[in-house]
Amino acid sequence: MLASFEDTRAAMTKITFIQPDGESQTVDAENGLTVMEAAKLNDIAGIEAECGGACACATCHVYVDDAWRDKVGKATEMEEDMLDFAFDVREGSRLSCQIKVSDAIDGIVVRVPAKQF
């Protein structure tokens, strides 16, 4: 069946990163990756991710746009603990290595903070 052949391709999800100066970049990310990995693969500025996604550095901090907060869900306790080490934490603050890319967040908008710690 042609349709199922199509389905075996990894599904892609759009993610928009907005820099503090307003510049925005939209990338296609493979489902199953994390938002941090999608940022690194596309050389998004301001996502440092020193610990490689282990939720151990807080240098992949982003602000999830209001409209998307419910869809990405809440940070776990471990992530909240790590967010203590981030700078200028706000309502929509998340560690991008802890957000999985999936159809449910297709079109998501995240803002990169002015500084990573």
Binding site: C51, A54, A56, C57, E80, D81, L83, D84, F85, F87, D88, V89, K115, F117
Partner: protein, 353 residues
Amino acid sequence: MAETNSIPTASESSGPIETDVVIIGAGPCGLFAVFELGLLDIKAHVIDILDRPGGQCAELYPEKPIYDVPALPVVTGQELTERLMEQIKPFNPVFHFSERIDSLSKGPDGRFHLKTDAATEFIAKVVVIAAGGGSFTPKRPPLNGIEEYEGKSVFYSVRKIESMRGQDIVIVGGGDSALDWTLNLAPVAKSLTLIHRRDEFRAAPHSVEKMRKMVEDASVRLMIGQVTTIEGRGGQLSAIEVKTAAGQEKIPCTAMLPFFGLTMKLGPVADWGLNLNENLIVVDTERFETNEHGIFAIGDINTYPGKLKLILSGFHEAALMAQAAHKIVYPDKKLLFQYTTSSSSLQKKLGVK
């Protein structure tokens, strides 16, 4: 890690400590170097700025699983550290924790002289730098101009509680360091404000409870918010601005202690005249020796074509380094290649025979 683990530490001594090898860094690679050197009858002292062994594994991810250490399908950072400590026990390494090696130079007899920030001195035939990503140092909050205040009115640790007497102190953070200092300094401070971004604390529950009591009897003020700016002159703080749910608030203060965890900074390693490439020490892949004969570098701190920053790479590097170190420590002894499985002399050293 439990202090009851009887890790041998150095006692106060006068004059430099003479030893075969000084290992800088007690991360997994420094620890395994003790083993490989020990098999060749080489004694080592190990120095680390942290107060316990394990490097990144102990400080950054003690509870997280590692899946690529050969023959251990899964092991946490803390477990790996404990297993290494057990493995090197027969060789009785001497640990010097909470000290940083600041200087390294060559003496007239070709041996190396090292000195820590606590003025402990060593003379060693061989130096093994297993400094990982560098010394663990407190994270500096990205507040404009904070550098100017550091050591004068912004502190990442306090050596003398008395120096804080009568001050208006602000402590920032929600972990054990922030809470411990809150409890310790509140009795001497003129005022103490604890600032944390949320009303939940990572610190041990009993210290949180004590802190809440102090808040109740008004000896401590707890503020939920984040510091946005600092004010002062010539290194002396006069106030900070805090963003809270209610808006911006200015708090007069004379000292601030921010606790945002630790990060790795290359530190003194950069000043020892070794060839560096992007903050990593350049080594060969036969001995893992630096441009200075007798100084080796293993683990995350080194670089060579194809380098992978993995624990298993550092273990391999330690084994080859030890062979080369043997030539320096025992220039006249021939080194026989032996297996731990079958060599009775190796087994004797390991205490299994």
